[in-house]
Amino acid sequence: MRGLWLRLLRGGGTAARLEIALPVAAGAVITLVLLLLLGLQQGLDHRADRTAWRTPEPAAGEATVLQAGHLDYIGERPITVIELAALTAGPPDVPHMGDFPDPGEVWVSPALASLTDELPADHLAQRFPGEIAAEIDAALLESPDELFAVVGRAPDDPAMTAERPSHQWNDAASLSPVAIDHWSTTPDLYQTTYRDIALLVAVLTALPLVGLGGLAARLTAARRQRRTATLRLLGASTAQVARLAAVELAVLAGAGVLLGAALHQVLLPLATQATIKGGTWFQADLRPDPWLTLAVAAAIVAVLIVGAISGLLPAVRDPLGTYRRSRLGRTRPRWWSLVFIAAAVTLFWLRSSNPFVTIAFTVVVVLGWGLLAVGPWLIFNLGRLLARTARSPQGFLAGRRLSDDPHSAWRAVGGLALAGFISGFVAAGLAAGIGNADAYEAGTERIDAVVTAAGIDTAASEAATALDAAGVPATVAATAPPTWLDAADWATLAVTVDDPGADMDRARTVLAASGLAGPELRLSDDLPTMWLLQDGIVIGFLIMPIAALVGLAAMVIGAIARVLAQRDTLLGLHLAGTPQRVLLAAQRREMLLPTALLGGIAVAAGLAGGTTLGSVDLLNPATLGVLTGLLALAAAAVLAADRAVRPVLARVSTDLAERE
């Protein structure tokens, strides 16, 4: 038996070369994408861990430090500022810094240090109450380009005694002074929400990857099944045929996994430059742990092997039936999938901190994975219906062949259906995000600093005077605070700068220097939403081409594989006098009808899933644009599959030498 798999592959001609190439390519793509997704999860975990200390937890024992914080802005880039005051003579060192800032001392991140040097002092440097004394260690930064400052203050500094307005969910935007006795290790809600969204993205991305894996493992399932049946009839044991398939897949998928891991190494520096949540990445963040990488590689190979072997079970159990092709491809919904879906949803509900993301995740898992589970069953019933109601031979042939082998038909159209689901989700999600972007754009030329309602009149007057004295033309007004704050306690100092491009940051510096720099809570609310939208667009437009490519490849390769698998039937039909045009028309219907049915269901399910991210009118340019693109892709896939299948069908249905 040794080397038989290699001989079988080498001897298989074009079909075997495809058999070799696809598991290798699938292994490579799946590994690359999974490592990138794992890297993203790990990176977000690391970011959350590195920044957890910035969100203070009140002291349970004797307080040693007073901690506060806020977000400042330079243009539309946030500067995270943590303010610390020692309550004891020997305060604990700031993590990874081996020191504690003295009053008036300022520590800055490397990116902030560069920016401070680059910009005029009245744009940035003058906002800080002291000299820059140290550069902050990378182990405390969210991202390499993060603008971050630690400011040392005295405990009786008014900034460390006054209550600050809090943001509805973005804790870092404005933290009132808190007496602490330890550095927090609990990440803030914003960080964990991003992590949950990344998991949602992973599930969305996994859908086309599952399609690709299935296609790779079972592309030539019919050929392999027939081979297995013959070997079994000749006396090969179950272990021998399983070993043959396992060794074959292990070597091919293993090669693919290695290729994917190598590609990941090459692409890693590029991936670190992708801006997510407003920042780039440290390479160590995105490089999964070596053991995890090994586990992923082993899991991919194992899944491909299990997929291939499960496809051989009928031939192992009933070699005679497979040999005679008496087995029908009848199928039932895979109810066991419900266990997987329920487990995934339960785990996410336990882990997630954001109800919106949790609901979106649940909808994606239930609808997306549900579609995977019932797809073949839907095709089986479509085929039965088509055969029963057919009035033409092509309709009858298409219907019978669909119901006879719904799994191979699903492999051909399933990829496109999943692309439809993802596109529907992204299309609706994008529209929800774009609605928020409009609100953001409307407020970018104004500084909205939240101050106490009691002090608003004084603040407005002092701000106008200070701005005038600094030569910054601006209009100052007192307005209501953000909706989540009580208007009895808080008000907004709205500063509209005449020339925001030149003077916005000067105005911020003037307000800070005058002690009027209340936190810009509106910007802290809108900007992350903008980032989320931008990240969503970036990720959406990364996932959609993957899904589209898999869908297109699945349709073309799946359609060819289906024709090759049915070569005896097609040859028989040809010998019985069936015209080529009837065979072609039947083939076309086998592609078009399931594509239309499953594609329609998938897009509707995707749109339903996407609307959980925000209520939208689906008749908007973004949604319609994505859906039009999807329709064009489906048409291209069907046309490409039709073109690719035509010569293959002509060959296998007429060439007697093609028989086995």
Partner: protein
């Protein structure tokens, strides 16, 4: 019903005439009381058959009578729902799937209506396949397989792929594959059914000669009386029951 029971009345083969070849000693393969059902349909009813070493037995009967099912029950490809199959005194039907596969690998050979050759392998490699499955290394297996080619009129075709062989050539490769492990019993399921008369005769002659030459018993399922006449004896299968057919 045992094969010794009176056969259904038939115009052609007559009862009472002696077998062409005298059977001696205990049979190598014995089936008794075989019942096989597919859902509600009973395909074999109390079928029985004895096969002695080196004899050739034709199994005849109309389409759907159960003759192929009998063949597959005898060879351990299928397990009967009732009855026993014994090979050299050991039960076949109660063996595990793995041990039945081992029997097919080492003691039995198969020739199918369609050769069932793997298109990825050359003719010689196809013949060598059962040897490789039995543990022989590839090189030795191919060398041994190639020695069968001249006797079967396949000289020079060792490297050809199945797609480049004629129907008759492919079936002869199938015969060579069945004989490669020097089996004690060769089972043939309508081996000439897909061939024209002339090629079929030629293939059948080779199958009979090769089996006899190697001392293997041959059980051949056929519709063709001419083939049956060339066998030592004929067993009729009708409605799932076996009966010995005697020759005129």
């Amino acid at each position: 019903m045992r094969e010794s029971s009176p056969p259904p009345s038939s115009g052609r083969p007559q009862r009472g005439a002696p077998d062409r070849k005298a059977r001696s000693g205990s049979p190598v393969l014995t089936a008794a009381g075989l019942v096989k059902r597919y859902g509600d349909t009973t395909v074999l009813h109390d079928a029985a058959l004895d096969v002695h070493g080196g004899e050739t037995v034709a199994v005849m009967g109309p389409s759907g009578s159960g003759k192929s099912t009998l063949l597959y029950c005898l060879s351990g490809v299928m397990t009967p729902d009732a009855g026993t199959v014994t090979y050299r005194g050991e039960r076949v039907d109660t063996r595990s799937d793995g041990r039945r596969a081992e029997l097919r690998r080492t003691e039995f050979g198969f020739v199918f209506q369609f050769p069932g050759l793997l298109p990825e392998l050359s003719a010689a490699e196809n013949v060598a396949l059962p040897l490789m499955l039995a543990g022989t290394d590839r090189r030795t297996a191919i060398t041994r397989a190639s020695t069968l080619f001249p006797a079967l009129g396949l000289d020079g075709l060792e490297r050809r792929r199945p797609g480049a062989l004629s129907g008759g050539q492919a079936q002869r490769v199938g015969i060579a594959r069945a004989l490669a492990t020097e089996p004690a019993v060769v089972f043939a399921d309508e081996p000439t059914g897909a061939l024209d008369t002339e090629t079929g005769d030629e293939v059948m002659s080779l199958l009979l000669a090769s089996a006899v030459e190697r001392g293997a018993a041959l059980v051949v399922v056929t519709h063709d009386e001419r083939i049956a006449r060339r066998c030592d004896r004929t067993v009729a299968v009708a409605d799932g029951r076996t009966s010995a057919l005697e020759r005129s």
